[in-house]
């Protein structure tokens, strides 16, 4: 009866929108269940965490977090009774399980390692990447395309394949199991992404800004500092977050090249053992703490996400 214009036919009907929405919401909810389960498990007691059928309703407890940050030893009830009053919640919970807190666990140092290595390498990668991207974007560099491809191709190598010679090299240089070694390594891995992403961002800033600045008497460096950098801030921030996410999540190099002092959280969390196997609430607590920064970044970053994961090959 009514006339439909071409456009209104093209636009999806309300009904199909509703079906699409329902499917997407269903997928999102199902795909988020494993994460919610990790979160829920971190607030369970060890017996609750391995109950069958899995407990959806449970009495929340911070025992997992206590166990994450401490190491404990089993003691006789007599010995535990001979101790003074419990000094806090964790102490009390531990004693209920006939154990005594022996000392802090390695989680905090490993987490701090993750912070130092992730932020250190991100800073270096973004710093080097910004300089190179500006170089490639604004100057005639001989063999620029080949160099850019070379930079990208360093990402094709399986980490384990590179790990063998790097392991040997680091052993010679005394860099194995040091934060510096890991920072250098992650910087090298991330700098390819940083150059490609930032070149895309800097290409979009009109050259006229610098030319105007240079006519006003600024040098090239000053023009770069005063006009290009402020314009590229968003791009630099997005690149930094991508580098940070990679360095934060990396496992293969960390597992093979660090064993103790410089170990990061990803190889550490799976090694959290309780009595009789993995202490799942503690593992879940460690995982939850480890995931929070990434979740925050994902939300901050959702608009730039596409560029980052495709090395800037797709613009949005």
């Amino acid at each position: 009866m009514s006339l439909t214009t071409a456009h209104s036919v093209v636009a999806p009907s309300t009904n199909s929108k509703r079906i699409a929405g329902a499917i997407i919401i269903a997928y999102a909810l199902i795909s988020i269940v494993p994460l919610l389960w990790i979160f829920a498990t971190s607030f369970k007691t060890p017996p609750d965490s391995i109950a069958y059928p899995p407990k959806i309703l449970f009495q929340p407890s911070l025992e997992g977090y206590c166990n994450l940050f401490t190491t404990r030893t089993r003691q006789t009830p007599e010995y535990i009774n001979s101790l003074g009053p419990a000094t806090g919640f964790c102490d009390e919970t531990t004693r209920k399980r006939n154990m005594v807190i022996a000392g802090p666990s390695n989680f905090l140092p490993r987490f701090v390692n993750s912070l130092i290595i992730a932020f250190g390498s991100t800073f270096c990668a973004v710093f080097l990447g910004t300089l190179s991207a500006y170089g490639f974007s604004r100057f005639k560099v001989p063999l620029a395309d080949d160099l850019l491809f070379f930079i990208l191709s360093t990402r094709f190598m399986p980490p384990i394949a590179v790990a063998i010679p790097i392991y040997l090299m680091y052993r010679e240089l005394g860099l194995s199991d040091t934060a510096l070694g890991m920072i250098l390594l992650y910087t090298a891995v991330n700098v390819s992404l940083a150059v490609w992403l930032l070149k895309g961002f800097i290409d979009e800033i009109p050259r006229e800004y610098e030319e105007a600045a240079m006519i006003d008497g600024y040098t090239r460096l000053q023009a770069f500092w005063r006009t290009v950098l402020p314009q590229a801030t968003t791009g630099i921030a997005a690149t930094a977050i991508f580098c940070l996410i990679f360095a934060w999540n990396e496992y293969a190099f960390a597992a093979l090249l660090t064993s103790g002092t410089a170990q990061t959280a990803p190889p550490f969390i799976p090694t959290i053992i309780g009595e009789g196997g993995q202490d799942w609430p503690a593992v879940a607590a460690g995982t939850t703490i480890f995931l929070v920064p990434i979740l925050v970044f994902t939300i901050l970053l959702r608009k730039q996400l596409l560029r980052g994961i495709t090395f800037g090959a797709v613009r949005k």
């Binding site: 999102a28 494993p34 100057f139 399986p158 384990i160 496992y251 799942w280």
Partner: protein
């Protein structure tokens, strides 16, 4: 005197945009900006690569640094290409890459196609879907091991709830035929959002007027999908397949924590073999040769694929 004249002349003529800046020419500045990156990559990527190439011709063992290193020529390569276990590992890898890419592309594209309808609240749900791909594969792999536990895990419980199969029969990680699928499921869960995001960019890049023209020609919805939507989004889909392909070919962390290559060697993908050879058997020379073969394979396949991708783009 002469200098001053030259300076005056220089001041009078407008500089061709600062060819020289305080002694540093643009060219010098370009190298100053680029060389640190190149030097770092040479030190951390290229030098080790050449070292690995050298080692691949020797019988060097990293746990016995004092032993005399013998040059073996191409013997390592010959042994790898004749080693049945290596070929099985390559098959496992191919199987794994094939199924993950197939599932991720199908589900990812469908999701993108549905989200492209822009229903109410699509931005929020899209962000929620993206969360799994931001996590650490190792941490995720470790935790999925818990979800897969037949006696206590959520996965087995959910499956047995739906299918009525007793949960003790759902041994995802220790059953020889299920173990590869346990990895494929986690990888698909984790990386489908990635494919979805790239497909979504592809779908959003299709100009509206093409659909309007098709409407005028009374093309059916089905026809529009096959002759407009899919071909126009294809380069993006192929890009997603390229990135996922490279990543899954070298996949290590998730497999190492979920199954560690087991049971037996049913999920032993190439990276796991490499790790076992290099860091457990300490056959450094041998594993370096395998690493070089893998690298050449990724590089070669990626190059062929990129050529195909460029052809599709030009159409």
């Amino acid at each position: 005197m002469l200098n001053r004249t030259a300076e005056n002349v220089a001041r009078a003529t407008p500089e061709p945009l600062a060819r020289k800046v305080r002694g540093i020419s643009d060219k010098g500045l370009a190298w100053l900006f680029i060389s640190p990156t190149i030097l770092l990559l040479l030190a951390i990527n290229i030098f080790p690569l050449f070292w690995a190439i050298y080692l691949s011709f020797t019988n060097y063992r990293a746990n016995r640094p004092n032993e005399v290193v013998k040059n073996l020529g191409l013997a390592n390569y010959q042994r790898i290409l004749g080693d049945k276990d290596i070929w099985i590992a390559m098959q496992t890898t191919a199987h794994f890459v094939f199924w993950t890419i197939l599932l991720q592309t199908l589900i990812g594209f469908t999701l993108a196609w549905l989200i492209d309808r822009k229903f109410r609240g699509h931005a929020f749900w899209t962000t929620l879907i993206l969360v799994p791909m931001m996590l650490s594969p190792a941490v995720v792999g470790n935790f999925w091991r818990f979800l897969y536990e037949p006696q206590i895990g959520l996965f087995a419980y959910a499956i047995s709830f739906v299918t009525r199969i007793p949960p003790t029969d759902i041994q995802m990680l220790s059953n020889v035929s299920l173990a590869p699928w346990s990895i494929i499921i986690v990888d698909t869960w984790m990386w489908t959002p990635y494919v979805m995001l790239i497909c979504l960019a592809g779908l959003r890049s299709i100009p509206e007027y093409i659909y309007e023209a098709a409407e005028v020609d009374r093309a059916s919805n089905w026809r529009q999908f096959w002759s407009i939507t899919l071909p126009m989004a294809l380069p993006f889909i192929m890009l997603a397949v390229l990135f996922r392909g490279i990543e899954n070919f070298k996949m290590f962390d998730m497999v190492n924590l979920l199954t560690g290559g087991g049971p037996g060697s049913t999920t032993e993908v190439a990276s796991i073999t490499l790790k076992r050879q290099a860091f457990e058997s300490w056959r450094t020379g041998y594993s370096s040769a395998f690493a070089i073969i893998l690298f050449v394979a990724v590089f070669g396949l990626a190059n062929i694929y990129v050529k195909a991708l460029n052809k599709v783009k030009q159409r």
